[in-house]
Symmetry: C3
Subunit: 178 residues, 3 copies
Amino acid sequence: MRTGDAVPPTSAFILTTSDASAAGMREDASGARLEERLRELGYSVERRVVPDDEPVIAAAIADAAARHRLVITTGGTGLTPRDVTPQATRSVLDYEVPGIAETMRAEGRRSTPLAALSRGVAGVRGRSLIVNVPGSPKGAMESFAAIEAILPHALETLAGPFDHRTAEIARTLRDVER
Amino acid sequence: MRTGDAVPPTSAFILTTSDASAAGMREDASGARLEERLRELGYSVERRVVPDDEPVIAAAIADAAARHRLVITTGGTGLTPRDVTPQATRSVLDYEVPGIAETMRAEGRRSTPLAALSRGVAGVRGRSLIVNVPGSPKGAMESFAAIEAILPHALETLAGPFDHRTAEIARTLRDVER
Amino acid sequence: MRTGDAVPPTSAFILTTSDASAAGMREDASGARLEERLRELGYSVERRVVPDDEPVIAAAIADAAARHRLVITTGGTGLTPRDVTPQATRSVLDYEVPGIAETMRAEGRRSTPLAALSRGVAGVRGRSLIVNVPGSPKGAMESFAAIEAILPHALETLAGPFDHRTAEIARTLRDVER
């Protein structure tokens, strides 16, 4: 199922991917910080924690995107073989929006050169926007801050309506010209 | 067919992808502005408008790349399911040149953070360079301005000749060493 | 074979991809400059020169990554059909680290806009980091300088150990919850 018109554009889902948090061995500080900021911005927020397991993450994103316009994941964007969030995300995206990840890294590098090592991706599934931010509270909040200003426009655009009437006219003209 | 040595390096094609323009419901302002700028830079220019239809765009790019060293598309780089120009472009590229798209977005973000949302790609087909710029006249011209300075070098490099004699010697040595 | 824990994190391999150097027609100036810099930084260094041949480059990278934590390639990142290093590299990567290539190009553009034309990629194979830098000595050294500061952290992270105990607990909890 993909998001329909009924989903409010300010409904957000935060998915924390962390073996330690999923095992109850570490608090989900990044998820809590992201939730706080999203609520300040007027979003209703739902949260979930899953281990760093690619198919589990992919299923959780797909499920969340069916019910929320915005899905933010935190964690699993680093260099090691246990960091699988970008791969899991890409597997359920319809298409990437590379400039969102580029922006988060470019802004992050002003604070620390290590921001270059985040492998996070962003993109669209149905009418929902999915964005990976790093797992550390600092990295998560700095990445989110870098794209906060463009989220309203992105979510409004995705919420449509697209100009299907024009598309139909264009298709008809094309078919006639063939 | 791919471009051969006979195509002048300053021959450019502008492909506008827009349902509204293809349906005759909107003027192709971006295409006109791009043509004007390319002529100022000494390019001969051909233009075409097609609807936002992935296989139609892909075929138009492949056809244009067979006859022109430079193919600029405008439109269809946004977030919605009707924006299919990057997918269509990628399907006919031999390889991407990611730094061109990165540069357009990074320069664009100096003007507006929304530049991060353009999904445009750039790359090579045969000996031709293909570049996606956004559909708005402002976005199109700012993106083009960001890469104007590197186009002569890129097109000269692609026009060759490549050093095939050296490549042959290297291959012969490798085969002898086996 | 992939790198195990026994490989010291400061062991580096420099692979020069150049038809001219492989044919003995040009000195490997970039390889020599990179080796000098890596030795200054405390790395032990091994070097090899291969022609611009995709399967040969891919095999050389895979072989190097089995024995070294860091593999730097120089050459073959340009626009022409003879530039195949990014394709060869991608074919043997487990996953890309796009921010490394973005950083090299973004920093390079401060020196010359032509830095946008490097198609270099970077990523991980096993526990080794592979990075493509351009073939010109200036381009190679500027690209390397842009990422020098993040290499120790990247290589230490890849050297692990990863927290496999936590991963196991998380997996067990997940299986119990099913």
